[in-house]
């Protein structure tokens, strides 16, 4: 299987209508290297959580799909509320597995206090706790134009009914 890290599942990358943030991880060459000289990137998926755990089932399927792409040696899920592991617990699991860099992505459709403030606060606390680990945050899921393509398909499915 070819490395799907850059060309995700072989799909072309259309130009994004969204403003891009400067200094994305890909354009930088400052990965933290552990004492053994090995850098290990962890993907931390940050999820809101639900009093009905079944509500997370589809998210876990998506995370399994991410794992199947083998883009990150470590993939962990952390919840803000209601469910376990919590985000700090999930970060601890990443570090225990030897992560030198934790890349956190909010599994949220909208931005708001959680995405814009609460989640950064949790990551900043982790930065203090693990000074040897680099932390980055990606855009929340809803910023991806792929969501529009999914909405198109959901609409198309009922268009002909």
């Amino acid at each position: 299987m070819p490395n799907t890290y850059n060309g995700v599942s072989g799909l072309p990358n259309p130009p994004s209508p969204f403003p891009t943030r400067e200094g994305g991880a890909q354009s930088q060459n400052d990965s933290v290297v552990s004492e053994t000289g090995r850098s290990l990137r962890a993907l931390l998926v940050m999820v809101h959580g639900s009093p009905r755990p079944i509500a997370n089932a589809e998210m876990f399927r998506v995370v399994e799909a991410v794992k199947a792409r083998a883009a990150f040696p470590i993939v962990e899920v952390g919840f803000m509320e209601c469910n376990e592991p919590t985000i700090p617990e999930a970060i601890a699991t990443c570090v225990q597995q030897g992560a030198t860099e934790v890349i956190a992505v909010p599994y949220f459709l909208h931005t708001g206090t959680h995405v814009a403030d609460d989640l950064p606060t949790l990551i900043e606390e982790a930065m203090e706790r693990y000074p040897g680990v680099a932390f980055r945050m990606g855009d929340y899921l809803g910023r991806s134009e792929r969501l529009a393509d999914i909405l198109t398909d959901r609409t198309r499915a009922v268009l002909a009914v």
Binding site: P17, T113, R154
Partner: protein
Amino acid sequence: MRSHADRLRTQGLTPLVAVGYLNYSEPPFIDTVAECVAAGATRIFVTPYFLIPGYFVKVDLPKAVAAAQARFPDVEFVVAEAIGFDERLADALIESANGAVGPSGWREDLRRASQFCRPNPQCPLFGTAQCPKQPVPAEKG
């Protein structure tokens, strides 16, 4: 959300694409429906921008659609499925991770997020210093 609507417009699925909200964001769902009807819509496809078919999709949305149907009895409403599982969500997660940034970029949304909202008592920020519409100074001491 508005960017998604712009992209949907380019895909030509329907002649009209509009965004309406079930919560305290602008414009409310019913206003958007009214706008579509005023523009001549006879069939309205309601596509939930929700990750799962939870309470909002199963309870709140049908109520909102029923209210719209009562107000516009000649319009046909067709409700699509919630987002649920999709391989492209995995693509989106990986792409987001590839563009991840350090701490200086983490709070950009804080000033951007609220530009479309209206003051509403149900909003968690209502009546606090963080409310961008009617900020109340934080109590001292």
